[in-house]
Amino acid sequence: MTRHVTIEPVAEQACDSEPARGMDVQRVLVLATCALALLLLPFISSEYVLTLAVEVMIAGVFASGLNVLIGYTGLASAGHAMFFGLGGYGIGIGTAIYGWPLWASVPVTLVCVAAISAVVGAICTRTRGVEFLLITLAFCQMFYGAAVKLRLTNGTDGMAGIPRPDLSWLGLSADGSIVFYGYVALVAVAALLLVARIVHSPFGSVLIAIRENERRAMAMGYAVGAYKIGAFTLSGVVCALAGILQAQYTYFINPDSMSWQSSGEGILMVIIGGADAVMGPFIGAAVFVLVKQGLSLITGEYNLFFGIFFMLVVAFFRGGVVGAFRTLIGKWR
């Protein structure tokens, strides 16, 4: 019964310790294909497909913001719709109430959201697991309530007339679907690259360490509290960016953007996409938007079917699409 494992023989067979080059080539190929598809889409598709693509990209930015927290840091937030909504309200209030130009409103909004999410994050990250889930949900309800009750946000009616960027200096109008598509694509790609850069940095590797074993991360010498707040803030800002795009896309923002349903949709996209891949959230967003479109064609009971879909995904699909795909490739090899 005793296992006499001496280290040397086991180790001998174990390792070619050069990092696999194949993965890099694969990744570059995937990215190049995606970029090409993004560029070509406006020329080969209909208006309807472009609209869907815009929705997918916005949802994808939202999900990749949330993924920094759920996938990388291992903190499941059920309240990140608050930042999504704050983004939209931020530019709405900036442009309509204070009369600032959009190019000033956007950075001011992002800075404010960063400050708010740092404070909210500092409070929420004192808990973990299900308590974290509850607290984030409670905060989200608080902002939702504020958006409903405050005069500044115009209550349940919401704010209309959210401006899209003024591109007249380029001779373009962002009201056109192709131009707006290009604008969203540019912002989404920039956001994705930024997130990818940050999660693949020393900072990102600490977040993974926290997800894997928080006590060990602390024993290694990391002030994990600060890293968690940092992840929370980054996540909040990226979600706010998605909220800004969404408000511009619909020219409109109302409290529903901060509802618990909205937070739930974010979680679902992250889970579908597979929690730890950078492209995952976008794939999750694509699946989600298409399923939502499909559901709206067959039934008016969106919540009912969405809820069932959500439960099925949580119960049977934890690795996400990317994970399932990898397992498949692994078997096939």
């Binding site: 409070i123 808990t127 739930g264 809820g307 119960a315």
Partner: protein, 292 residues
Amino acid sequence: MQMFFLQFLNGLQLSMLIFLLAAGLTLIFGLMDILNLAHGAFFTMGAYAGWLVSRMTGSYWAALLIGPLVPFALGALLQSAVLQPLVKRGRSTHLDLALLTFGLLFATAGTVEYFFGSSFYSIPTPAILSGRIAMLGIDYPVYRLFVIGVGLGVALLLSLVIDRTLIGATLRAGVDNREMVTALGININVVFVIVFGCGAALAGFAGVIAAPIMSVYSQMGIGIVVTTFVVVVVGGLGNLKGSFYGALFVGMTDTMAQAYLPEAELFAIYVLLVGMMIFRPQGLFGSTGRVA
């Protein structure tokens, strides 16, 4: 002073309603480590079931008795047919299960809308409990006093059952050491199913009780369940005593803020929550000394 007394009673009434929800949530979490985010759905279901029964029989008391049976059955079914198999499969952490019940929250809201639409309904107050009673210079609705009485009664009953009976001893042992309870020849899975059902039934009971005061509509469970979450975090997750005092704290804060500081109405309970997080993250009665 009369104004304050009135608000005090209102706060007490709200506290007791929240307590009924928080108690169910706490029982389930304390014993099974499952955070049931769909708890508000059981509240809604109880209210609708009660409304149907009262419309058919015309009796409030029938509604109060039969209404909670629907959430009991569905709660027991959820635990035995969905959650338990997932736990057994060993892949699902309690965070996964919480997320699963989050999906259930959507599904039940959708189901209720499908069957009942988004109209508002109400259960009439029974004749004995309608009217007002004069006390200390104010006229207070009898029904609201009844709600307070029921809440205190349930709190007393629960604490007696858990501290003084064999059932309670089994439950307490189950929280500490599941293997031991199994070794005693008790089928812990059956206990889980029954407790889950009872927790759900408590929420449904609260739904029927609330129906004459609040309107019955598809989203009625959402607002109150978030307040309940604040209660269980303030009181310490999984602690029954904590959920009682937490409910008192939160209910009073909410009511008093609405009465005296209307601008802060939305924020008051969250301020309480934030304060608790800063000074006592484990809650009023949460276990201390947890290392990281």
